[in-house]
Amino acid sequence: MDFDEIKKTWKNSFKDDELLNKEEIEAKLKIKSKSNIALGKVKRNYKLELIIGIGMSIYFIIWMLIYISDEYKLLLSLFTFLFFGTLISFTWRNYNKVRKTVISSDQLKPALVKTIKDIERYVNFNTSTFSKYLLLPFAICFGMFIGIFVGVGEEGMNAVMEILENRIIRIVIILVVLSVIFIPFSQYMTKKMYKQHLDELKQCLKEFEEFED
């Protein structure tokens, strides 16, 4: 098949009855569908992380104000607020950078560079040393601490301190084990969700660069 024939066949494969009228186009614009492009997915994930973070912080603070004894409730609420506040502010900062971003109308190569940068920002944050070795273990510590507090009930901070003193080795071991499980798991999930797609986009960019050689 010569190329003119290929072109003719390709052109003939489009049917006029597929064309939409104005009303149909307007109706499609009103549909709130889930975007399948990378940027849309990143935006959705940031939003989800923000909603979960804000929801959890509100839940924990209310729980502490109700159940923790007066002596410690302020301190622990502040601690919780700072922890979630840091987490939420990092997420918000990153989300803010992409939330108004739309697919570029730039030429293909610069647009691709921009898309890669936006996705990398998300992936890099989740795979950063800060996130891996500080945020995640800290979140586990926080969870354990809250767990101990729930466990001691009315006995208060002295009982918590007693547990920490007597079972510190066990607590450290649990922390290490949980970190060893959750750090690779979170990295695997991030890579599974984005790495492959990112590699595809980088390959595409490489091709555009090779076109210029």
């Binding site: 290929i6 494969s13 006029d16 597929e18 186009i25 492009i37 109308s105 293909l108 647009a111 210029e212």
Partner: protein
């Protein structure tokens, strides 16, 4: 211009140039569901970017850029199926050939196109849609001479793939 008027202008332009979205969706998706999703994504992205359209370039050129950028950035859910596909492509073919033959030929061409990379698809779709080298250069960002060289390579590659598919190599 009010938002209502802007939207009406946009819809009129899309109605006139919607073939571009259909072609890009078909070029990057072999399955009907994927095509429908991509069509929707492109339409939404075009509307969200419409305020940035400065009327300096032709609307169709701007539209092709946004459409191709969206298609390149999409997640491919049906990647595994791409290797062995018979696209569910509606056909519209000249009358002198038998329906089956024409359908087979169209499916073969789409199957061959589907084997090209995302970057190659972006260049060849513009060429097949009769865009000049200058316009392809303006959309892709490649130099005119590189466009010429690349198109010749892609044409040769496409013909080779077709030959392999035809003879079951």
């Amino acid at each position: 211009m009010s938002n209502r008027n802007l939207k009406q202008e946009f819809i009129s332009l899309i109605e006139k140039h919607q073939g571009i979205i259909h072609k890009v969706s078909r070029m990057y998706c072999d399955k009907e569901e994927c095509r429908r999703d991509l069509f929707q994504d492109i339409l939404v992205q075009l509307w969200q970017s419409f305020s940035s359209f400065n009327h300096k370039s032709k609307f169709s050129t701007w539209m092709y850029r946004v459409a191709l950028n969206t298609a390149i950035a999409q997640f491919r859910k049906d990647k595994k199926n791409n290797e062995d596909l018979t696209p569910d492509v509606p056909v519209n073919v000249p009358e002198e050939e038998s329906f089956k033959e024409k359908e087979d030929r169209i499916n073969l061409v789409h199957k061959a196109i589907n084997k090209l990379s995302k970057a190659e698809k972006a260049i060849i779709i513009l060429y097949m849609d009769d865009y000049s080298y200058e316009e392809i250069s303006e959309i892709s960002g490649l130099t005119i001479s590189n466009v010429g060289v690349k198109i010749n390579r892609i044409k040769a590659k496409l013909q080779k793939i077709l030959k392999e598919l035809e003879y079951g190599l």
